[in-house]
Each structure stands twice: as structure tokens, then as C-alpha cells.
Amino acid sequence: MSKKFRHVVTLMLIAALFGIQNVGAAGVLKIGLSSEEGTLNPYTYKTETGIDLVRLVYDPLFQIDKDLVSRPWLVKSFTLTENNLLLTMKLHENVKWHDGKPLTSADVKFTYEYIKKYPKSRFTNPAKNIVAVEAPDASTVVMKFQKYLPDMFFRPLADMPILPKHIWEKIDNPDASNVTVGSGAFMLTDVKPGEMYRMKANKDFFLGAPDVDEIVIPLIKDTTALFTALKAGSLDITTRNLSPELIRDFSADKRLKVLKGSGFATTMIYFNNERTPFDKKEFRQALAYAINRKEIVDVVILGIGTVGSMGFVHPDLGNYNSKINQYDYDLEKSKKLLDGLGYLDKNKDGVRERETDQGKALELKLLVYANNPLRVRAAELIKESFAKIGVKVAIIALDMAVVDNLVWPDFDAKNGRDYDMTMWGWGASSMNAMNRYVEMLHSDFARGPSNHGAYKSKAADAILDKLALEVDFGKRDALVVELQAVLAEEVPFVTLYYADQYFAYNPKAKDSWVYQKGKGPVTVLSFAKKF
């Protein structure tokens, strides 16, 4: 309810927000933000965009680079010994907090102890694997791990921002904290949650002073208002990528330049694998053959994206399996599978039925977020093509919270589910993250809390069990390749597309942007020359 309320209030305030005006001075970069991010520290940010902004202010030990490789950041060099269980890190020596105090190993030790004391699930869960952190001297950190998990160089090491001990040791309610001192490329000078943030360049930044003097980040939730402001020159770039229908217009604009990259966020259709008729793999395969994913990409996102792979993994990734069955649109194959399952249209009303169901027509409900027009449109196209194989679809557009509650109550698959099919999507961070694959697909809900399609497969479980513990990157990729073959055979869901991302920016304000794969340009990578 509170989310809805905020949405409503936003709508009513659009007019007011339109007026975010030029701040004007040279060296100022204006970034349009579309999500609210609290007081913008590691405990109060709200979304993935928020943590990207947090990283402008705070530094983690490692950083994920533009090709999604985890590389040392605050760390200058490291060694991994004792069966990969002891990580010894040397920190850069010239790093200072924004208040002038030096950043030392004591801060690192403090941070990793603090997140265990005051949980924030994103950071705390991966940090549970750390048994002890020692700081033998000011620039050395020694971390002892319980077991070697391949993902630890991503989370927590490249994820948890290091906090200044002298400030945070006094904070015992971090979720309500409003401290802003970090060590990163920018210092927060003005924080107005729900309105705007202002940051000043940190000239002493250990990776070199950033190329802009100041960043102003106004919050503009309404997409139209956001892009109007960009076009009118009141903004220099936005955290949100351009809507597909705007790309032609913005590309033609001489004052703006456009960055393009593949996006790893997915748009999918999920089946409730434990509900009849979806509990039969042949039924799900039949539906997959009847979805014209190419047409959905062409019509809904105007061809600006990649057709979804039946194995979920984006074709641009190294561990993409190009040999799996992609279920190219084929109504005849689909009909044959449905015939084989006993779904026939004996009464010739255009909808199939089955004798064992007392001739009840095959009518399925498809849930979709009412406030996501692209997904509603994709659902309409799916309905259209399912009608051609004699499967009737009722699209039910509901409020986001209501859909979530039917599909994934309390965001934990063990709480059950009540739906036939639903339009869905996972964010870019779910792509190529081994722990996410386990969470999304494991049939044991304790390990697969995100498996809200109730997909149960021994073959997939066996691969996921290995994947969770595999250390060798080559072997992990081989497992992911295998996993895709299983998914393509069993079709727990269909990945419809990965939308490409376009970002327009004003080159006069800043022209050197680094595009992080699957994410975009507004990250600290665009401001760290020496990384």
C-alpha cells in the first residue's frame, strides 16, 4: 500500500518535479535519477541504481569492471593461501576519508564485523563465510574463510563498501543513519531524500580526481518528465535507459550522444510448474513453441533487444550454450504436443479440452503488472498466438504488490503460490551469478527461495549442487552450459527477450563514459581513470 501511495503522490507531483532547473555552473554534471534512494549510504540505499550511486561515495575492496570481472580496487595486491581459505590483502596507502583521516585496515576489519552485527541481507549473507578478519598492520588485511566459494570475489568483496570506523562505531541504528563520509570519487554535500542529491568531486581520490567538479542528482520518477528534462538540456544523463520508442529521436538530436549496450535484465513468462496442466513438461514445451519471441522483440521493444534464449543465459556471455533447442515458433509442433496430451478441440469452439477434465475448456490465466505497459503488450501478443493453438488466455492486470503476493508471497518460494502463468523479469544482477541460479532454480526452497515457478528437476538440482561449490571457472562455465540444456528441455519458464539499453548523454558535460556490461554508464567506473 505504501508503495502505491508513493506512486500516486509522485504522479500528482509530476508538474512540480518538471521544474528542476539548471544549476548551470561549469563542471557540473546533472544525472536524472528515477528511483528513491534514502540517505544514500550502504544501509539506506534502496535499489541496484542506488548502490551504483553509493559506490561513487564509498569504496569496496574489489570492484566489478566493465566486463564483469572482479578486480582489486582498494586492494593493491593480494594472495590466496591455505587451500584458498586465507586471503591476504595489501591496501593502497594513499587513501583518505573525505574528512581527511586515512583509510586503514582497521576500517576494513571494522566494516566486516559491523555488517555481521547489523545485518543488511545483501552484504551480511555472503559475509557469513568469513570466519575472521585481522589487521596486522595499517595496510594489511587478512581474511579467513570457512570454505572457498567462487562468488566471494563478487560478494561480499566487490560489493560491501568499506565504512569509516571513526564514524560508524557510534552508529547503532544504521538503517536510520544519515552519515555521508566515504572515501570515494565524490563527497556527498547535500542529501534530500525523495528530492535530490548533490556531490562534490574528491580531488584526493586515490584513483585520480574525477573529470567533473560536481554532480547534481534530481529525483524524477515519471519517465516522460525524466526524458523531457534530458532533451531540454536540464539533465546530462539519466540512470534509466531510454524507452525503445525514443531511441530514434534521441539519436537524431545533435546535442546528445547515445551509448548502446546489451542489457542483462530479462522479460519472461513463468509457468506454475506444480499446477495442472503445467506439471507436464510436454505442455510447457507446447506453449514454448507457440510463443513467437522474435515477433515480441520486433513489436514490443521495436527490435531493440535480443531474442530470449531457452536456457536463460544471454548469448553475449562466454558460457552461453548455442546448441540447445531454441523452440523456434512452430504452431504445428505445438499442436502435435497438445494433441499427444489429449487436449483436443472436439466441440470445435476453437478452444481445446480434455475428456479427463469433463471437457473443461483449456483456459489459462496470465498475470501481469498493470503499471508495466511493455509487459502487458507482450502478454497480449502471447494471448494472440496461444489462441492459434486453441489455448485461451485471460490476461489479468493487477497491481504489482498483488501479483507478487500471488506469485511469490513474501518473496520466498516456500510460502506457496496461486497462479497459472505470470509475466516476469529478473534484473541484470541475476544473469551469470551462480548463487542466483541456485536461488532461482533449486527445488529445495530453502536453497531456492526465488524458485517461484516451483520448478522441480533432479537433473537441474544435481548441476546446481555442483555449481554452488565449484571453484574452477572453466568447470563452472561447463556446468552452466549443461544447465541450459536441462532448462531448454524442461522449460520451467520462457525467457522472451533481453532488452538492449541505450543511454543518451550530453557530451559537453562529460564525454568519457564507461559502459558496464548489462548495466550502463552511470557507475563509478566512469569516474575512475586509473582503474
Binding site: M1, K4, F5, H7, V8, L11, M12, T223, T224, F227, T228, K231, S243, E245, L246, D249, V299, V300, L302, A370, N371, P373, V376, R377, E380, L381, E384, I395, A397, L398, D399, V402
Partner: protein, 285 residues
Amino acid sequence: MKTTNNVFRLFLKGKAGVVGLVILSAFILVAVFAPLISPYPPYERVGTPFEQPSIKHLLGTNDIGQDILSEIIYGTRISLLIGILSAGVSLVIGTIVGMTAGYLGGKVDAVLMRAVDLNLVIPMLPLMILLAAFLGPSFWNIVLVIGILSWASPARVIRSQVLTIKNKGYVEAVEVLGAKPFYTIVKHILPPTMSIIISQLILMSSRAILTEASLSFLGLGDPTQKSWGIILYYAQARSAFLTDAWLWWILPPGILITILVISFAYIGNTLEEIVNPRLRRNVGK
């Protein structure tokens, strides 16, 4: 008491009312004969997405290649239907409240009228937005939200009409003869109030159409329906304001909403001037 005939003659004297009636009839004809008039079925994708207006598609195509003109023609049905249905709901509530308060008087009247006052001072659109967001997007929820939140002003008008009728000799006579209140209301008070109820129904319809368009535009309507408000919602969501598309995607439904609302208002106002006891002196002799 006026006969229907009398009302009709007075109505024809007011030019605005006649203009409104002509326009409304045109809209109703379009709604009824939508399948014959519209160039394409509204749910069929007949062009490429975001086509500009052409001979084939007079108002271009929408974001998935459906013909916008056909959408608008079919949208007349939904918009009119939602308008009249929600006005109906509000009138049923308004009539019951107005009749009860006016006829029973006393404490019941006082309580009901305070409820009406309360309802009238609350800013309606924000409250409707909240309620619609709470109930979720669907055709019937919109009808319900508009209906249950806009009964106050018809209730008040109907009450004042009931008050005048109640003191007429024939009503008092029936009461003296021992008629039950329900019988008196239905048999002797409702019929002469009918004309005022109809004028209120028409006025409320125009408001309801506007409200439906506002709610749908804000994304609180059912996005799989094709009302004018939903057409506007998609136009806004797919950035028509940022491209030239607003000319053929936003202006036409916007203008049609305005015209339809005005036609209802013309008819309703003219009727009200004739039948409302408080406004009656303005018309006729």
C-alpha cells in the same frame, strides 16, 4: 407538477440542451455501430508499431501496431458505458439517501445530511485515486469507485425535491390513510422525482467519464480494455508527449472526451434548470 411533455417542450427551448442532445446521439450511434464504422478490429495488429497517419491509418498506429482510429471508435463504447454505469451506481445510492433523508426528516435527515456535507468537502479526485489504487485496476472497480464516491450532490438535490413533494396535499392524504413510508415513497414520491433523477444521472455521467479518463490515464484502469483513458495511458507511457505522436495519439481522444463531457453537461444543465426546485425560477415564465 410538470408532465414529461411539459419538460420536453421547455428543454427544446434551451439551445444548449438541443446541441448537447445532438452530439450525444452522435456518440451513441458511433458506439452502437462501432463494428461497422471502424476501419479495423481494434485488438488486431494491422500495421507496424508507431506508424504516422496515412490513408491506411488515418490516426496512425499505436505502440503495437493497432489502428488508433479504430481504438478510439471502440473506446466510445467503454467510455460511455463506464460513465453511465458509474453514474447509475451513484444515483442509486444518492436516491436512497436523498429519499430517506427528505421523507423521514428529523434525526435521520440530520445524520444523512452531515454525511453528505462530509462527502462534499472531501476533494474527490485524490480520494478516488487512492481508492482505485487500493482496489486494483479493473473495469468494475472503476465503476464502483466513481459510483460510491459521487452520490452526495444528487442526494442533496433529490432530498430538496422530496421535501417539496412531501408537503403536498395528496401525499399527506395517503399518509393519513395509513400508508407505510415505503409505499408512499415508491408510489407517490418517486414518480414526480424521476425527472430530476434523470437530469442528475446525465450530469453525473459527464463527471464519471472525465474521472474514468483521469484514473485510466494515471494507470489505475484496466490496461487490457480500450477506453479513451487507457488509450491516453499508453500514449503517455510510450512517450507520445516526447515525439510528434501526441498530435494523433493524444489530441483526438482528448478532444473527444471534452466534447462528450460538454454534451452531457449541456443536456444535464438544461434539464436541471427545468426540474430542480431551486433553479426552476430561471426558466420559463
